[in-house]
């Protein structure tokens, strides 16, 4: 990934955090319910067999419905989810090469298992990425860390996750500043390796100093490791409904071959 691409994706990430401050029914739910639903979703999707393609398609209903009902911009979610494509393609690429035994016969054309499993990997990655992006968009990262902690994650790790997120932003801002400073002074020359090394070292130290100031300021304002998101965090009827409804759907889609039956019914009806 090139530097502008990395920075671009980081900025999109911060945009997601802004979207998370929205106010809709989904936004108001307890973070734990949303985190659990996402985990079950990812588990169900990832546990599908390596040659499953059609069965994965209805799972797209989850991100689509949540995006629509929470009123968040679909383009941001879509762009962020697409980031996963290059990695997914690279992971899936060996499959058509090594897995050449014919798996399907469609109208006399033999499709090898490798292509099917590659498509499956791509779909799976898209689904997982979309679910995660939607989770951040309707929950916000600090609330997610808090939810994970209440679900059993040790506090030092949850705090570390939160600070990792915050300092990614600090690091990004410092890197941009350094980049423009270098561009202004370098008179059009490209970045040399030696300069890159010393710039990275200075970036590390400067970011660390700034992070320490931020942390001390937080402590001075009473930070003790608790997570607050300003929303009530009751696990009530709405949360149970959300959790139960979605999980039931995912498990149903995972265990029953509904799509094949739907397709067969439609095809049978058409005949």
């Amino acid at each position: 990934m090139s530097a502008p691409a990395i920075l671009g994706s980081l900025l999109d990430f911060r945009r997601l955090d802004q979207i998370a401050t929205g106010d809709s029914t989904v936004h108001r739910l307890d973070a734990r319910a949303k985190v659990l639903v996402t985990l079950v979703f990812i588990l169900c999707v990832m546990s599908c067999g390596r040659y499953e393609v059609a069965r994965l398609l209805p799972f797209f209903a989850f991100p689509i419905v949540v995006v629509a009902s929470a009123g968040i911009p679909a383009s941001v979610v879509w762009r962020q989810s697409l980031l996963v494509l290059p990695v997914a393609l690279l992971v899936g690429l060996p499959n058509p090469i090594f897995d050449r035994a014919a798996l399907l016969q469609v109208d006399g054309l033999a499709i090898s298992g490798g292509w099917v499993s590659m498509l499956s990997i791509v779909l799976r990655s898209l689904l997982a990425a979309a679910a995660s992006v939607v989770l951040v968009a309707v929950t916000g990262f600090p609330a997610i860390c808090g939810a994970l902690e209440r679900l059993g994650m040790p506090r030092p790790l949850a705090v570390q996750l939160l600070f990792l997120y915050r300092y990614l932003g600090v690091l990004g801002a410092e890197a941009l500043r350094m980049n423009s400073a270098y561009e202004l002074r370098s008179n059009g020359h490209a970045l040399t390796l030696r300069h890159f090394g010393s710039l990275t070292g200075r970036l590390l130290l400067r970011t660390w100093e700034r992070a320490e100031r931020v942390y001390l300021a937080m402590c001075a304002r009473g930070f003790t490791g608790e997570f607050t998101s300003g929303r009530p965090t009751r696990f009530g009827a709405a949360e149970w409904l959300y959790l139960g409804g979605w999980c039931a759907l995912f498990i149903l889609l995972r265990t029953q071959d509904l799509v094949a039956r739907l397709g067969a019914a439609v095809l049978g009806g058409l005949r």
């Binding site: 059609a54 990695v87 035994a101 990792l164 070292g201």
Partner: protein
């Protein structure tokens, strides 16, 4: 390590080991209570995250190579805190970039976190000692990094073999992984040595406080490695006994024999599945549009 290569049994077993290690390290970090460590952990995590985005994929194995950074973090933060930082970066990558995947998270935390921090770092300390001679530090960093990465590569091969899913033959896989990780280890050793010497000249105070007694982690570290091996062995044995045709299946795959229709996952015509899937997707889109129209009107 990617989800595609992993069986749920092995992934779950490694996840258990990783979770236990996380809990143990968290307890140690909390007990040591070094407050100034917190921002540094966050910053180094952010740095590691950015550095790891530079992925170079290893063709044919479904794995990608990137700088691990576990050894460097252990040198700067001490083993327990370093482990937590690596775990946090991997969690964020798995959750929000679908990089690696949730099933492989335990494996990744073990391969990229545990091995460099609890095996590579003690090795580094043993070689470097307390000396500040740059040559000795560089040598120690190189050896520590190479050993960590080779062990990590062996771990990936072992986890893949124990899962029994990959069509790649074991020898080819190992032949790919080990030399490539040797190269990556050399690069990582050089980068680690460079950064450590830079920090030593610019901010020596950063390194002074990290005098974690290596002896105190050796016992639990060995315990975790042994537990991981036992769990993986159990998972592999369980799989082998329950599914003897898994072996025939892989043999058929590597000799490029055509699959018999009986073992095809499509019990009905694939066309029906695709039709049904597309219909379901279209339905979901319609529902989504309707919901959007409703929320727009408010």
């Amino acid at each position: 390590m990617a989800d595609a290569l992993l069986s749920p049994a092995v992934g779950g077993a490694m996840g258990l080991v990783a979770a236990t290690a996380v809990a143990w390290c968290s307890r140690r970090v909390r007990r040591d209570g070094d407050d100034r460590l917190v921002p540094l952990m966050g910053v180094l995590g952010a740095f590691l995250f950015a550095a790891q985005m530079i992925n170079f994929s290893i063709p044919g194995t479904g794995s990608s190579g990137h700088l691990g950074g576990g050894l460097l973090l252990a040198i700067l933060l001490g083993p327990q805190a370093a482990f937590l930082v690596v775990a946090s970066v991997l969690i964020v990558q798995a959750l929000f970039f679908a990089d690696g995947g949730l099933l492989a998270l335990g494996c990744n935390i073990f391969n990229l976190g545990f091995l460099p921090v609890f095996v590579g770092y003690p090795l580094y300390r043993a070689i470097a000692g307390e000396s500040a001679a740059p040559v000795r530090l560089s040598a120690a960093a190189m050896i520590g990094a190479i050993v960590s990465l080779q062990l990590g590569a062996i771990a990936v091969v072992a986890q893949t073999v124990a899962s029994g899913i990959s069509a790649l033959p074991l020898e080819t896989f190992a032949l790919f992984m080990l030399p490539i990780h040797l190269a990556i280890g050399i690069v990582e050793g050089l980068v680690t040595a460079a950064i450590v010497s830079f920090v030593r000249t610019a901010r020596p105070a950063l390194l002074e406080r990290k005098s974690r007694a290596v002896g105190s982690v050796a016992g639990p570290a060995l315990g975790f490695v042994a537990a991981a091996l036992v769990l993986m062995g159990v998972a592999a044995a369980g799989l082998a006994s329950a599914r003897p045709d898994g072996l025939e299946w892989s043999i058929a795959r590597t000799t490029n024999a055509a699959l018999a229709p009986v073992s095809s996952p499509y019990t009905q015509s694939p066309v029906a599945g695709l039709v049904g899937g597309t219909l379901a997707l279209a339905l979901a889109c319609l529902v989504g549009l309707a919901l959007k129209a409703r929320s727009d009107r408010h």
